[in-house]
Symmetry: C2
């Protein structure tokens, strides 16, 4: 018995033509500890967009029902050589109901249950998922459980990283995002100081209304002074940045060093001895990262991705993190969405242009069987 | 009994005026395990220049015997607030003869000996140094022993860092420098693969004549292809860059990722799983470091400085490194100089403009009592 259903695929041809389409798929029977999930809700995360559309020219794309064809600009078209002419499924995570299982014990125990899962093929009516990665949702709805993995584990991962590296404070940029609001709640629960960098007055107010103590606005003229003062108050020498391009990282390093240098009693040509660390975990800005030579040599900038972090953290830490997410899905780890779309609506010009803008607080939720 | 002699000082006034001058100093008697060294030779390293002149406008400075006065441009004048109006001695390292000692046993054992030392005040007729940091030179001349610390320990430090982080190959840029030639010899002795990045044909030939296997020329049109091919041959996913500004680091990360991605069997939106690491250990280019978003998230860029490295490496490693330097000072760890100057000549326009250019292979040696 095989199952058929509709599924989104993205294909980048070697000539730079990107095709995103809804197509009929056949789903194999789950084997071993696999489960087949009838997908009910899946968020469109920035990490999905990198694959789904990337920086393709969506404004001038051709749209027809269940299909869009767009040009991928250079250097991105050539740069993504590894995916040329491959028809790729999309959608990291989602939630739905287990309708078939392999004969493994873990899988069989999930039959009929509503679960959050991480199939990598979530923009689809059905998806095959690993039972070990499924969270049974109990009374929680699929919509409430759809974002149970990427954002919660990432936000928790930041705090785990900070603790493992001996920090008591974190800087976070683009901090009014769903992820940022989650991190703000986690940090308050865990007594980790948090400096939220946002770029709008409304975002300052939003985060303050959620209990944030340190919110600095990069659009204010005295942004650097605000940032220095917050670092001085918290000793935040570690930061996480989803923007990537431009000078956000540079501003953080500079402010950290200025605060550290102001506490030195003796001049050193090499700057302060204070180690400063920043992680880039996203690329909301695809421009180059610019680092000015204004904070000595005591700094480290690194990429941060969830999967390698989880591998490195080990099974015990990951299980502890997942337990915490499951127990607090509708509170600490709640997500909110601007709009719900089904798989066809997801490929309309109106929707695509809106969610690809990745505006803070304007996340879309896909309801594949909606 | 106090000793007097001439010494170089550098002062940056808060209005941006930089004064470098030769002045009469009084040297206190050494106490404990201090020694007083009559300085005979001291190299002008890039790390000295950062303090001595920085990016001051030396072309339009006022020069008089034993003195120069120059404008420090912004943002460097304000950025160096920590040193404003302080009269600072200069000269990390050098060699000379111990003419007085404290009454500590280590110090007394060095009386009358020729030593390499790290006083931080080496551009001077006399300097107080710690006995524990002195290397007795035996038959080696002061000129041959003058650069026994900064370059040898840095080059050895790169190889120690690579070994500690599990690497079997290193990329080094500006590789025809004294330090680069030293690293080339060390890597051959230790069986560590080395990719030398240079920018001139003569430098390719120089390093090849010294046994280098992989030398790539950034001025060649096929530079990136050369670099990829050398990475493919050596698995070099760690690099050290003294340039800092510009795109050297970016080129290395990009080439590393392209090689790693070419070996992948399956496309990943996040790039390869190969961790890539670069260290910036100098600022030959004071422009911003530019990182393009073309190598995923599996990379780390960090500053590298000798002193924190030595602290972290521990006494046993440091002693082993020093023994090796001492035993091979005129071979593996030999330096060469373009020109010798005394303290007065060091402050002439002709000399200052020449050594501040930090051209590869054109290092100056100061002979304070010459």
């Amino acid at each position: 018995m095989t199952t058929t259903g509709k599924q989104i695929f993205t294909t980048l041809a070697s000539d730079g033509t990107l095709t995103v389409e809804l197509a009929e798929s056949t789903f194999p029977d789950p084997t071993g500890n696999q489960v087949l999930v009838r997908m009910e809700a899946a968020p469109i995360n920035p990490s999905d967009l990198a694959l789904l559309t990337g920086p393709a020219d969506l404004e001038n794309a051709e749209y027809s029902p269940g299909r869009l064809v767009a040009r991928m600009p250079e250097p991105f078209a050539s740069g993504a050589k590894g995916r040329h002419d491959q028809r790729l499924p999309v959608g990291n995570e989602g939630a739905g109901t287990v309708v078939a299982t392999g004969d493994g014990e873990m899988a069989k125990a999930l039959m009929g249950q509503r679960v959050a899962c991480v199939p990598g093929t979530a923009f689809s009516e059905y998806a095959i998922a690993e039972a070990a990665m499924c969270l049974p949702l109990g009374d929680v709805s699929s919509e409430d459980g759809a974002s149970a993995f990427v954002n919660p584990m990432t936000a928790l991962g930041f705090v785990e990283t900070a603790k493992a590296e001996g920090h008591k404070a974190i800087i976070h940029s683009a901090a009014a995002s769903n992820l940022g609001q989650m991190l703000n709640r986690i940090c308050q629960e865990d007594g980790m100081a948090l400096i939220n960098i946002v770029r709008k007055r409304e975002q300052v107010e939003l985060l303050k209304s959620q209990g944030a103590e340190h919110v600095v606005n990069s659009s204010d003229e005295d942004f650097m002074a605000q940032l220095r003062s917050a670092i001085d108050a918290t000793d935040a020498y570690l930061g996480f940045d989803p923007i990537g391009g431009g000078k956000t990282v540079d501003h953080c390093f500079k402010a950290m060093e200025q605060v550290a240098a102001s506490k030195m009693t003796e001049f050193s040509r090499y700057g302060s001895n204070q180690p400063k660390k920043m992680y880039i975990y996203g690329r909301l800005d695809l421009g180059p990262t610019v680092l000015t030579p204004s904070y000595g040599f005591g700094w480290t900038l690194s990429g941060w991705l969830l999967t390698p972090f989880l591998h490195q953290a080990g099974m015990e830490t990951v299980m502890r993190m997942r337990q915490r997410v499951l127990a607090n899905l509708t509170t600490t780890f709640a997500s909110s969405y601007k709009r719900k779309v089904n798989l066809e609506e997801m490929l309309t010009k109106n929707a695509v242009l809106d969610y690809r803008a990745m505006k803070t607080g304007e996340k879309y939720l896909v309801v594949p069987n909606g």
